[in-house]
Amino acid sequence: MIQSEQTDRQTLIKLQGVRKIYGTGQAAMEALRGIDLHIEEGDFVAVMGPSGSGKSTCLNILGCLDTPSYGDYIFKGITVNGLDRNQRAHLRRNYLGFVFQGYNLLSRTSALENIELPLIYRGVHIKERQRLAIQALDAVGLRGWESHTPSELSGGQQQRVAIARAIVTKPAVLMADEPTGNLDTVRGHEIMDLLVELNKTQGITIVMVTHEPDMAAYTKRTVHFLDGLIESDKQNGKIK
């Protein structure tokens, strides 16, 4: 397993000069052009910026799904870019929750089973698994929709199942790529309340991509991306 050095307890996430280049030669495209970012434990960060500015790319790297082309990503004192696929998979399963930009639920699989999925890979026993999954389903307000498959759920409901799946393991960090993107404002605010609560009561560090300033206003800190660079990084004055 991975030895955590825990040099700097507070700094959970450290990006140092991270660049991500897609493709090679003429077709090469630099999605991230040198990102320096520190995120402390317990922080709640909103990532904003125009489409194509590299938000999802950055989140994928933070979520240990992708590795930087250049630069370092240090998570919990572990240099992630030095790890192999398997070690990164261990990080994902043990510390990270991910809400994808598309919902990415398993089709033809009930909401409850979708939510149970990360618990299966954590080796949680079936009874406990179902209990936690129902709890998470409750938290996102989908009680009664356990046995519905994604095709029987609305876009917003699918999004909430995706959120439930990401939080069911009580991860150290939750990465959410536009978790309110498909929700009406009422539902969107409900989700934001939920995230704030998770951040407050369970101390889950949250990094959330969003286009809506309304939603970003719930967070503690807003990072603006522009053309693969961080344009601004501000603490939000007042938390709703």
Binding site: N60, G63, L65, D66, R85, N86, A89, H90, R92, R93, N94, L96, F98, F100, G102, N104, L105, L106, S107, R108, L117, P118, I120, Y121, R122, G123, R165
Partner: protein, 400 residues
């Protein structure tokens, strides 16, 4: 975890019932044919061995002519003296019976039945393992005088007498009338379509005088003593007969000594060759079945790229995704194996009546066939599973 993987595999297979059925058809056919062939082959071998044993233990047949039938007429026939010489000169013999036979129609009242008539002496009953059910064997005076008496087999009794008492009745064999003095204990259905019970036995002298009209002997049947080497006995008989028939060392035998063990060996050999050959055919169909599984698993991996991406992104290890697809392939192929086993065994049970071959259940081959079908899943499922596990989560998630 492994249990969850199994559940997952079953569910995935259930989603594509028809596709899964078609995929495993090759395996089903392969396994079914292996099971059928081996089971029937075993049955046939056991049957042949049992039936030949019922003919008489350590039976050897000495007859004039070389191996085949063609030269038999040219080779001089045996005489009674030849049988006496064998009985006298050869050691470790249990019994020696000179015999001749001929087809004949047996008639009683309105009933008639075409059967085989054998002329021999009382030794014949020993050599051929006959026991008398009711009545008696020939008396010495009957043998010496060539009396018109006969011992009949169960089939002949049934055909001529039905429910009537047969003992003491007179039946016509050809132009002559013989009295039934004994009934043979039935041996049941017999070797290679021949019914052993379809037989009538009369004293050799009666046969020679009244039926064939000459002193020839068709065959000398010999049974080696228990524990004696049949090879040695065969060699001794050959030596003796060459001497008696004045065959120089440069000439071939003009008679042959057939050991029933050789016939057994030859017959079981044939079934074994047949089994091996058909097993090869079965192996090919298993191979084709395996390739079918590989193909469908590759299709499945492509179809489910997104699912694989989700699993990997959520924390599944490569080895777990590999396992998932491998288990699926194995469940697929071994359920094909299971179907094949059921199909094969029912085919055997069904053919049992038609082919008159006993059904001998061989758990070894059933287990082997099952393990083999599972192994086909492992071998042919590995490559697709490897491919699934090696997918990049981000790219897999982008796949549409």
């Amino acid at each position: 975890m492994l249990w969850d993987t199994f559940i997952l595999a079953f569910r995935e297979i259930r989603r594509h019932v028809l596709r899964s059925l078609l995929t495993v058809l090759g395996i089903v056919i392969g396994v079914a044919s292996v099971i059928t062939m081996v089971t029937l082959g075993n049955g046939a071998t056991v049957q042949v061995t049992e039936q030949i044993a019922s003919l008489g233990s350590n039976l050897m047949m000495v007859s004039p002519g070389k191996g085949g039938h063609g030269q038999r007429s040219i080779a001089p026939p045996f005489k009674l003296a030849d049988a006496e010489a064998i009985a006298r000169e050869i050691r470790s013999l249990a019994a020696v019976a000179p015999s001749s036979n001929q087809g004949v129609t047996a008639i009683f009242g309105n009933e008639n039945w075409a059967t085989t008539l054998t002329g021999s002496d009382n030794q014949y009953f020993n050599v051929r393992n006959w026991t008398i059910k009711t009545g008696r064997i020939f008396s010495n005076s009957e043998l010496r005088a060539g009396a018109a008496v006969c011992v009949i087999g169960e089939t002949v009794r049934e055909k001529l007498f039905g429910k009537q008492e047969a003992l003491g009745k007179r039946i016509r064999l050809g132009k002559l009338s013989f009295q039934v003095i004994g009934l043979l204990q039935s041996k049941g259905q017999s070797t290679m379509g021949m019914d052993q019970d379809d037989t009538v036995i009369i004293p050799l002298r009666a046969f020679q005088r009244r039926i064939s009209g000459n002193q020839d002997i068709g065959m000398i049947q010999v049974s080696a003593a228990e524990g004696a080497s049949t090879e040695k006995v065969q060699e001794d008989i050959e030596h003796l007969m060459r001497e008696r028939r004045h065959i120089s060392s440069s000439e071939d035998d003009d008679f042959n000594v057939r050991d029933l063990k050789e016939i057994v060996k030859m017959l079981t050999g044939t079934t074994q060759v047949l089994t091996a050959l058909l097993s090869a055919v079965a192996a090919v169909s298993l191979l084709v079945g395996g390739i079918g599984i590989m193909n469908i698993m590759l299709v499945s991996v492509t179809e489910r790229t997104r699912e694989i991406g989700i699993r990997l992104a959520i924390g599944a290890l490569e080895s777990e995704v590999l396992m998932q697809f491998l288990v699926e392939a194995v469940v697929l192929s071994s359920s094909g194996g299971l179907f094949g086993i059921i199909l094969g065994l029912s085919a055997c049970a069904g053919l049992k009546g038609v082919l008159q071959v006993p059904f001998i259940f061989n758990p070894g081959i059933v287990i082997l066939a099952f393990l083999f079908s599972a192994a086909v899943g492992v071998v042919f499922g590995y490559f697709p599973a490897r491919k699934a596990a090696g997918l990049d989560p981000i790219e897999a998630l982008r796949h549409e």
